[in-house]
């Protein structure tokens, strides 16, 4: 503030002036040894790194084939709705390829009038959009089919992450190639060692499919499909094919290994649901959550994430008494469709043992089920798409743990 404006401000009234002076008190003191940093900080740098005091990391389990494995997002150590790209979960089936974007391209062929090849430069010339969407492995929360469930939110729900994706609507590329009327499905293929393939409906591809080259303001991370990946908003993670190199338009699905052997849901009568694309609405309290320790009775904000593959989250309710009573939480605005939605709930802990839960509803009216309701619908062996309510217990010592439900 310049001197003249300071005087004008002081003249505005004795009360305001006094308040201003008390706020500015440190400035009035003479600079002393402990009034500020005494050493110069680090110089500017080309690419930022986080503070050395920050240590949150993806959770990786030992695997004999770490190239066909997964790593989990520490959801309880992220804020807001965006997952930092470096913490986005991974699930690869044949490792992360190193791809030179100058030599990579996307071929659109099959039931089209004109098969086309798009270079990365071509894709970046076309009209672009940016959209916030979660990606969730359909095996996320798979351990929650059992009554015990996983001890931390990273282990139970960490195969889900949310990013702002930038790219070309798939519709533009398909229409550019000219869609033949017989085409009803697409097959998307990656350039990883196993040439990951998935079938998806043409309807979905045209509705909101995206060929993404951007993630959270910069290029995709190699683990997320650099230089391009498919985003099919709200559909199970595996259909969002990474390192995308080819899209073939077809009459029907191709019944590839990862839509038959894997990513299908077995029912108790031995039949299996196939093409279980949309991720059902799910929510989980991330703070406090399993493994945390609450520091004394009094005010603590309960916070968590909710998402649905079918649209926007319309409400999240929180219970602090094991599901006896439910109260509406506040949703962070704006709420995006098929994206993480942050909910917050002010809470005063009375220091007694209590049980915390959240449940969400999406714009189709679907309500996140309890474990019993889910099992009544789908049995115990379907392995994928588990979206049951997660329960955390707060002990009298403030320790937070997973509880059987």
């Amino acid at each position: 503030m310049k001197d003249s404006s300071r005087r004008a401000f002081l003249g505005a009234g004795a009360f305001a002036g006094a308040a201003w002076i008390s706020c500015q008190a440190p400035e009035a003191e003479s600079p002393g040894a402990d009034s500020g940093p005494s050493a110069l900080g680090a110089p500017v740098r080309r690419y930022g790194e986080r503070s050395p005091y920050e240590t949150s990391a993806r959770g990786v389990r030992d695997s004999q084939t770490p190239e066909a494995a997964s790593s989990r997002t520490p959801l309880d150590k992220t804020y807001g709705i965006i997952t930092p790209s470096a913490l986005h979960f991974e699930r690869h089936h044949a490792g992360v390829p190193e791809i030179d974007p100058a030599t990579h391209s996307l071929t659109i062929h099959g039931l089209v009038d004109r098969p086309l090849v798009f270079s990365l430069d071509d894709l970046r010339r076309l009209p672009s959009v940016s959209r916030v969407h979660f990606v969730e492995c359909s095996g996320n929360s798979g351990g929650e089919w059992s009554p015990a469930g996983a001890p931390t939110v990273q282990l139970s729900h960490g195969l889900a992450s949310c990013s702002e994706w930038t790219g070309v609507p798939l519709r533009i590329l398909l229409e550019e190639a000219g869609i033949k009327p017989e085409a009803k499905w697409i097959l998307a293929e990656g350039a990883d060692a196993c040439l990951m393939q998935r079938s998806a409906t043409l309807e979905k591809a045209l509705e909101d499919g995206l060929v993404a080259y951007g993630q959270n303001g910069e290029a995709l991370r190699p683990e997320q499909g650099y230089p391009i990946r498919l985003i099919l908003p709200g559909w199970e993670g595996n259909t969002n094919v990474k390192w995308l190199r080819r899209i073939k338009l077809t009459e029907g699905p191709q019944y590839v290994k990862d839509e038959t052997s894997k990513y299908t849901e077995l029912m108790e009568d031995g039949t299996a649901w196939i093409f279980t694309f949309e991720m059902d609405a799910k929510s989980v309290i991330t703070s406090p959550s399993g493994g945390h320790s609450i520091d004394g009775a009094g005010f603590h904000e309960i916070s968590g994430l909710a998402w649905s593959g079918r649209g926007k989250i319309t409400s999240v309710e929180v219970s602090t008494d094991g599901g006896e009573t439910w109260t509406e939480a506040t949703l962070q605005n704006p709420v995006y469709s098929r994206a993480f939605t942050r909910f917050r709930f002010p809470w005063r802990w009375n220091g007694k043992e209590c049980v915390l839960q959240s449940r969400c509803q999406d714009e189709t009216g679907y309500m996140q089920p309890s474990r019993e309701a889910l099992i009544a619908e789908r049995g115990r062996v379907s392995a994928y798409h588990c979206n049951r309510i997660k329960t955390w217990k707060v002990g009298i010592d403030g320790s937070v743990s997973n509880v059987e439900a």
């Binding site: 044949a94 071929t107 062929h109 076309l126 097959l187 309807e203 191709q254 052997s261 649901w273």
Partner: protein, 172 residues
């Protein structure tokens, strides 16, 4: 311009207009598509030439697959490749090529694209027909004298062919 040539011109002009709105992207050549398009659908129309027998497949399996998938597909460090549909009803269920996969063509397609895990793309089409025949044989699906090729493989009936239903939650 005659009426006819004007009509031809108009048709041509609208066609190019519908053709590409942005004019970005180059035509893919047939050779490019052929080398990229490894997809083999459930009817097996795209299957390549070549053939392989159960006996040949046993040798391929021994050298290229056994270290990970175990003696006779019993599983070991990685997925078992043998099972029967009854095992889908037991707890926990066991899903394998024999017990679960609906199409034999998928086994050929997946092995050709992705196996052996550390060096996919290193087997010939004959070897892939052979190891496919072998894996189907150890599941009791084809007999020990079987030889598979583009004609016979799509005709192999998988025990769990009728075991899949569309997800009632999804839109069609």
């Amino acid at each position: 311009m005659s009426k006819l040539s004007l009509a031809v011109f108009l048709v041509f002009a609208t066609q190019t207009l519908c053709a590409q709105s942005y004019g970005i992207g180059r035509p893919a050549t047939e050779a490019e598509i052929e080398s990229l398009d490894v997809t083999i659908g459930p009817e097996g129309r795209e299957l390549p030439d070549g053939s392989g027998s159960v006996q040949e497949g046993a040798q391929v399996y021994e050298v290229r697959c056994k270290e990970c998938h175990g003696e006779s597909g019993a599983g070991g460090d990685h997925a078992a490749l043998v099972g029967n549909p009854e095992q889908l009803k037991q707890a926990p269920p066991i899903k394998t090529v024999g017990s679960f996969w609906p199409y034999a063509t998928t086994l050929f397609d997946y092995t050709r694209r992705a196996m052996p895990f550390e060096e996919p793309g290193t087997l010939t089409d004959d070897q892939i027909y052979a190891v496919t025949a072998y894996v189907l044989h150890i599941n009791g699906i084809v007999d020990e004298n079987a030889t598979l090729d583009r004609e016979s493989l799509p005709k192999v009936e998988m025990p769990n062919r009728g075991g899949f239903v569309r997800d009632p939650r999804s839109k069609p």
